[in-house]
Symmetry: C2
Subunit: 208 residues, 2 copies
Amino acid sequence: MDTKQSDLTREKILHAAFGEIHRNGFQAASIANILADTGLTKGALYHYFPAKHALGLAVIDEVIRAGLEEMVFSPLREAEYPVEELLNIMQCKAEYADEDTVRLGCPLNNLMQEMSPLDDVFQARMTLILKAWKTAIFNALVIGQRQHQIRPDVDCEAAALFIVSAWEGCWGVAKNMQSVHAFRSCITQLQDYVLSLGPRPGLEMKAS
Amino acid sequence: MDTKQSDLTREKILHAAFGEIHRNGFQAASIANILADTGLTKGALYHYFPAKHALGLAVIDEVIRAGLEEMVFSPLREAEYPVEELLNIMQCKAEYADEDTVRLGCPLNNLMQEMSPLDDVFQARMTLILKAWKTAIFNALVIGQRQHQIRPDVDCEAAALFIVSAWEGCWGVAKNMQSVHAFRSCITQLQDYVLSLGPRPGLEMKAS
DNA sequence: ACACATCCATACCGGTTGGTATGATTCACG
DNA sequence: CGTGAATCATACCAACCGGTATGGATGTGT
């Protein structure tokens, strides 16, 4: 009960910090706003986090990374036909995206663009996530090759990195244009790109 | 001589502001730093720009937009074979990119990710650039269709937007990974995507 | 040569920022 | 029951921010 209570307030701070950072970016994220959202005060926050910097890192690791792990990496790892799962994940994101989602953009992408040239620790931490992402897609593509859904001559390494890039890019332009339509259009094109890695144009994908 | 001198200091402020914003983002861009770079003082800056906000807009219009116009839009508009020109522009950017270029990322993309959800005027101004960009590529693709370099069934509207998205996405991940190699790899994949819009896989592109 | 506008430097201001020092309250444990 | 550690609130601070008011210097038109 004791540790539960303390962990709960820590989580509350973490969650509010994530929201503030998602809305305003890390540098513009106001400690005061985070505390106002939680109803707590500075004493609480600086009890759990030594500085704003550490709070940011905790958000990256325990919110962003964890969320991505659950929503993308894990499903890709455990899927029987991971290429289809990849397309499926894109489809889900495209369908469930609403005005606010698009307006705020991808939390990881936002932080990367803002912080990577300014702070090496942030940069390293986020690059780790990026590489995990790329690896997850890479594995999916390689398995896809074994299942004859991806052509053998495809450079899965480069393709995986490009898919991550394009994925973040789709978020980026949709965010600026504030258009869910643009987002879905872009995701569809990205799906088409993945399909273009398959054998002879326009055939279905079912397994061996 | 008079107007020349005043315009010169205005340009100097504009250039320094662009640099500061490119490095730190708009919100974190310090007026003091901009002035330190130019050797001027606040009196000068606030003589030419009523507020930081207006300075930011001027940077977007007179530096970013103008630069893009000269380096991308105009060449695409005037090229005889615009699809090849598009591939060529990508190639140039990939080859000339160095550590610093990649580290700081695309100025427009940086600003979009930071400011579009925070300021409607910024957002509108940048969306205009984005649409001009998309239109430039769209026209290139349509002409490419007429020249049998792009398949007739390709949705040029969607493809153009996707190319812009992926382009910015390549900048984004390369920026975070701080890797010119990753950037070039992504651009190559993007070029392959454009080529995949052409007739029957892997054939050359020369005209009719 | 006088008046006036342009151009820019200096000094200053209110507000916000992240961070800290201190103290009150509560809880775990002997 | 009491003692020390964990948990959080309050008050405060120096630094920095964008912005303004004022004034001096320079040139320009008449």
